[in-house]
Amino acid sequence: MNFLDKIDLFKYTVVEKGAYVKILTGLKNTVTIAVIGLLIGIVIGTLIAVVKVIPKHGPVSKALDKICTVYVAYFRGTPIVVQLLLGYFILFPLLNIKVSSLIVCIIIFGLNSGAYVSEIMRSGILSVDPGQMEAGRAVGFSYGSTMMRIVVPQAVKNILPTLGNEFITLIKETSVVNFVGATDLVNAFSYIGSSNYEFMVPYLAMALIYIVLVLLITGLVRIMEKRLRASDKR
């Protein structure tokens, strides 16, 4: 079978035999896990970052700091596959929570991303001139309010390219979710390949889709960056 025949076979499987449904489901899941995962990650990451930069006076802030340190150490120190397996087969059954593997993946990816985003966000917050915090406090805003209204928005602007990278990493890392039985792109194309015992074209197509996704995100981040930089010069 030459290459063109293989393409024809792939087309036939996808279009005539209806495998495109599987691909679309896989694509939808891949994007869903990455997007919602990143959003959860940004929320958790921002909270951890604020805990990390807050001046430590009382026992509460010190305890919170310890908890965050352990959290980050776990999610950065173990592979995402291990976190998925532990989450899906151990933690969720133990807590008696019955949800689909997709939901488990979204949650675990969110928690994982939170650990990475926290470090990105922390460096972003530290890159903002301390005078901004002082000015907010001097006007009468509380620490938290100044942080959320004035410092974090400026930090996000500074770290947007890095946050884009985190999103790209997440998209690619979702390729391991079939360890817990969720359908993603890898799962969909493997299915097509194994139905004909012909893997070359499906896997090339899969790689292509990932590249297109990543290029799309890169473009989107560029546009957002430009928008946010509009306030810098006009």
Binding site: A135, A138, V139, G140, F141, S145, S231
Partner: protein, 307 residues
């Protein structure tokens, strides 16, 4: 209106303020001068607690904004176990002093030797608590009454000029957007920058930024304005426009505390000039006497260099 009582400030092992006291009355314009590193900026920043004084108290009207400093309250010292022990010991020794003399002696000794401990018994603790509960004011509330202008302007970079001015009034004073913006435009007219309302801080010159920073503070209707070297980061040709705004503000009756190197401003506007060096206020006087007949040796030295 503002009462600074014997404040000390340590940065690690470095003591920057060594017991500074100052009473500021409504309508006064106080200018603080002194060599760099003398603690004048720290003194200013201790008033709105951007720096927390290590010891001492700051009062805004009748509200205490710092924690209670037991050494400033005789009744608190008298309630402490340390005082009681010393008093009883002296009595047992058969001191010839009267109770009152002895009491003052012991208080003096406790202050000098920093004898109070963390725990000083129930009576002490309750008295401290009572003073705090009676007078303490949340610093975020106190700061609304104290406007501050920084050397580096510190306009909020993520907001337009108009939003910089209205953010505080809308979110903290709960003014309506229309009301806050009307007031903002009124203030912008006063400094002639109405056309910059929608600009972002990065698009403005230093002088413009600083005038808007002054307006941002004024929009909160403060009772007093603190200026921390407001013209030191400006190009020389922009110093005048900022000083003009400050002079106008002074004429309008605002209470002001200004740390600056502009001796001309001090002479012209101040009702009282303070000289600080090495963490202490070494001289204070009306501008006339301050510049014409300085008494302190170091002030004479300082003035000979800057005038």
């Amino acid at each position: 209106m503002i009462s600074v009582r014997n404040i000390y400030k340590d940065f690690g092992s470095l003591r920057v303020l060594k017991g500074v006291s100052c009473e500021i009355e409504k309508g006064e314009k106080i200018v603080v001068v002194g060599p760099s590193g003398s603690g004048k900026s720290t003194f200013l920043r201790c008033i709105n607690l951007l720096e927390m004084p290590t010891y001492g108290e700051v009062w805004v009207d009748n509200d205490l904004v710092t924690p209670v400093d037991p050494y400033l309250h005789f009744d608190v010292i008298r309630a402490s176990n340390t005082y009681k022990k010393l008093f009883d010991a002296a009595k047992a020794d058969g001191t010839p002093k009267s109770d009152e003399e002895l009491s003052l002696d012991i208080i003096h000794r406790i202050k000098e030797e920093d004898l109070l401990k963390k725990r000083e018994g129930k009576e002490y603790k309750e008295l401290m608590k009572k003073i705090y509960n009676d007078s303490a004011l949340d610093i975020n509330l106190a700061r609304r009454r104290i406007g501050m202008v920084f050397q580096q302007f510190n306009l909020f970079n993520n907001f337009s000029v108009l939003d910089n001015i209205t953010l505080g009034p809308i979110k903290l004073l709960k003014k309506s957007k229309e009301e806050a913006e009307a007031r903002a435009f009124e203030l912008l007219d006063r400094i002639g920058l109405r056309d910059k309302a929608n600009a972002f801080p990065q698009q403005l010159s230093g002088g413009q930024k600083q005038r808007i920073a002054i307006v941002r503070a004024l929009a909160m209707d403060p009772e007093i304005m603190l200026f921390d070297e407001p013209t030191s980061a400006l190009d020389p040709e922009m110093v005048g426009e900022v000083l003009d705004v400050m002079k106008e503000l002074a004429e309008s009756g605002m209470t002001m505390l200004v740390v600056t190197h502009e001796m001309g401003f001090a002479r012209e506007v101040a009702t009282r000039v303070l000289f600080m060096d090495e963490g202490l206020i070494l001289e204070e006087n009306t501008p006339d006497l301050f510049f014409s007949s300085p008494k302190n040796e170091r002030l004479r030295d300082f003035l000979s260099k800057v005038l």
